[in-house]
């Protein structure tokens, strides 16, 4: 009887296990990555609060498939919640409206984002929690990376310029320039040419020629630094400047306090993108030599090595600066004049590709990096009223968002996340070691207990070992909890609907209706007819901004 019941029980259990194993794999096809979706669909009615983690991806997919209505309605629903991601939703919305040609809605969305992104006090309570050990970085309000703030300001400025509100457009440009200066690497500071060009153009429109010249000068400098011909050199130069700053710091630690002011100066130079002047280095050498003569302690081997390395770095930086200066002579800045020239009453902006994708790497996702999806549309030719054509030679290029995103340098938050990741790993390792120790001690306690039972003794040693094992297990548990609570994952929220490249074509058009055709081709000049566009524009008095997105 007992055997039969047992047999039935075991059989039922195994059948249940078998059936559940059949159901699980069927679900596994979709539930591996979207388990939360099926739950939410069942539990929440359609009218309930939108769930960005699921629907925002649908919004992105819809945008890149050209379904702007769906994408717009999804992101508009998120923006209505006025949550900590309000600026992100509005930036995404702005891009959608812009691609759909609705400039008014785009400006409204970008402005909503603009106010929040540039408000340091907004959601400040969330920020303090995000930096805590158990807080997650993504808990703080989205205010964007410097490059995102730059693009937001740029769009606000362009759309205000389109409305002939030049004063406010200039204010937005100045905000963008300020955001662009918030960069670690000195050479990459203020390298968004388009912002300076817009500032120069707006100053010209406001009849302020003296300011116009200053901004144009800055635009030229930015253009030369960000020109592809110079990018490799600038990257190398900035890397060496950072290293030089590091070496100076090391030298400062090893040197007497009297000369400690020099390294500080070198650090400032590295940040400003300048080479420490030869004079200061010579000065340093002269002074130490003088001190040596006065009977000061002799330089250690380490100091001598550092000095030699610093000298090598300075020579290398000077060489790279020379290469950059030579390259600059071969780069034409003529197009910049055309963009600033107010006789060209139209700025035609063509946006290509997809902007940077920010994603986490590292054991706990503590490092955020950028990549971009390759796109085929590289060149555009604009035909005007089937007559005039504007090709690449008449366009201002090199405004690519990935370059801006990846040259912004490290953030203070990166150090915090690194610390959190180290804490998580160390506590997990300690917890594991302690749990092993506890297990061993527990086994030992069992053995002692058995021995005590055979010997007929009290077994107090076994009890002691048992208590110790339990104590260690508790400590191990505390470490494990600490490790589990630490959350070092980097915040990878980003404006994913940004374009990869922005081409600016200045034009002089008569007031009235015009027919415009955009012909798109790849890097080898092969036409891509499915991406071509044809439309009418109504040119009005004053400045005109036309923005067209090529989506593939």
């Amino acid at each position: 009887m007992g055997k039969s019941v047992l047999k039935k029980l075991v059989s039922s259990f195994l059948i249940a296990a078998f059936l559940s194993s059949q159901i699980t794999p069927v679900l596994a096809q979709t539930s591996n990555f979207s388990g939360s979706q099926s739950k939410s669909v069942k539990s929440k009615p359609a009218e309930s609060k939108p769930i960005p983690s699921i629907q925002a991806i649908d919004g992105e997919v819809a945008f890149y498939l050209g379904d702007f209505a769906k994408a717009g309605s999804l992101f508009a629903a998120f923006a209505k919640t006025k949550d900590k991601d309000f600026a992100l939703w509005n930036n995404q919305r702005g891009s959608i409206y812009l691609a759909a040609g609705d400039y008014k809605q785009a400006l409204s969305a970008f402005l909503d984002a603009y106010y929040l992104m540039n408000d340091t006090s907004a959601f400040s309570r969330l920020e303090s929690h995000a930096v805590s050990l158990i807080g997650e970085e993504r808990e703080k309000a989205y205010k964007g990376d410097p490059y995102e703030r730059v693009y937001n300001s740029l769009y606000v400025a362009l759309l205000l310029e389109q409305e002939h509100d030049y004063d406010n457009a200039l204010a937005a440009v100045k905000t963008g320039i300020l955001c662009d200066s918030d960069v670690e690497g000195g050479l990459y500071k203020s390298d968004v040419t388009l912002l300076y060009l817009l500032a120069a153009r707006l100053e010209a429109l406001r009849n302020n020629p003296s300011m116009n010249d200053g901004y144009f000068q800055k635009a030229q400098e930015a253009y030369l630094v960000s020109c592809p011909k110079n990018r490799g050199v600038v990257s190398d130069e900035q890397g060496k400047l950072n290293l030089l700053s590091q070496k100076h710091k090391e030298l400062e630690k090893l040197s007497p306090k009297k000369i400690s002011r020099e390294p500080e100066k070198a650090e400032v130079n590295a940040k400003e993108g300048m080479i420490a002047s030869k004079a200061s280095v010579n000065n340093f050498a002269t002074r130490t030599k003088a001190e040596g003569e006065e009977g000061a302690p002799k330089k250690s081997k380490k100091v001598l090595e550092l000095e030699a390395e610093i000298q090598k770095l300075e020579t290398a930086i000077a060489t790279l600066t020379g290469v950059r200066t030579e390259n600059n002579k071969q780069i034409s800045t003529e197009i910049l004049k055309q963009v600033v020239d107010t006789n060209n009453n139209v700025l035609f902006i063509v946006e290509l590709g997809r902007g940077p994708i920010k994603y986490p790497i590292g054991q706990y996702g503590q490092i955020a990096i950028f990549t971009s999806k390759p796109f085929t549309a590289k060149n555009v030719v604009i035909a005007l009223d089937n007559k005039d054509t504007f090709d690449q030679s008449k366009a201002m290029l090199y405004n690519d968002s990935l370059y801006q995103a990846s040259t912004r340098g490290g953030r203070a938050m990166d150090g915090i996340l690194k610390g959190k990741a180290e804490f998580k790993q160390t506590t997990a390792e300690i917890s594991y070691q302690l749990s092993q120790m506890s297990q061993q001690m527990s086994n030992q306690a069992n053995q002692l207990q058995q021995q005590a039972a055979y010997a007929g003794t009290s077994g107090s040693a076994a009890a002691g070992a048992s208590y110790a094992a339990a104590g260690i297990a508790l400590i191990s548990l505390a470490f494990a909890i600490g490790s589990a609570m630490a959350n070092p994952a980097a915040d990878v929220r980003h404006w994913s609907l940004l374009p990869a490249e922005v081409h600016v074509i200045p034009m002089k058009l008569s007031i009235g209706q015009h027919r415009i055709q955009i012909q798109v081709s790849d890097a080898s000049s092969n036409l891509i007819p499915e991406l071509n566009k044809e439309f009418d524009v109504n040119i009005q008095e004053g400045d005109n901004i036309i923005i067209k997105r090529i989506i593939e």
């Binding site: 055997k3 195994l14 096809q29 591996n32 993504r138 990878v492």
Partner: protein
Amino acid sequence: MKLIIKQIQFMILIVILSLFTFGCASPYLLRKQKPTLKLQPNEGVVLFSCKFLNKDNLDKKNIFTVTGLTLQEVNQYKAYGEKKFFLIPSLGENYIKQDDLFLFSLKLPRGTYKMTSLNGLLRSFFSTQYFVAANKLFDVIPGRISYAGRVGIGFFVSGGLQIYETQIDDKFEEDQGRFNNGYPALQNRTIVKDLIY
């Protein structure tokens, strides 16, 4: 009692086998005998081909059969997601001997994924397992069958160790026909080139 234990052992074996037979097939859809392709509204398909490169440096008989891969969803709107391992069974069926090419596919919910590593075998089923780091992203578009590229597995020797690495090539023109003609489920279906990046 012994009989009961034997019966239990046998049933456990059946359960384990059934888990392997059905459970591992989840992301896999390229079967010669599978005539149709059913996708949920939020699902898409991604196709890959795979080839072992620099054979001359190893045994010429080497083929690299992908037995599994590690994927991680890249979704900025979600908390950091776990890496998940996908098994790809029916190895022999997907190796095209004359082209020395291995084909595999994934059916996934829409979104962006990071292929963190490929797990494969050199030569036969009982040969050494290799985990090859990839760290590349690809997109899954609902209802779309995308060709993500040819994963070339190569190796180099560094410090006496064989290091395996991947490279992605665009072989759309070559591979498209292989997928369309080789698998009934993909016949007359449009394959869109959307390379892994």
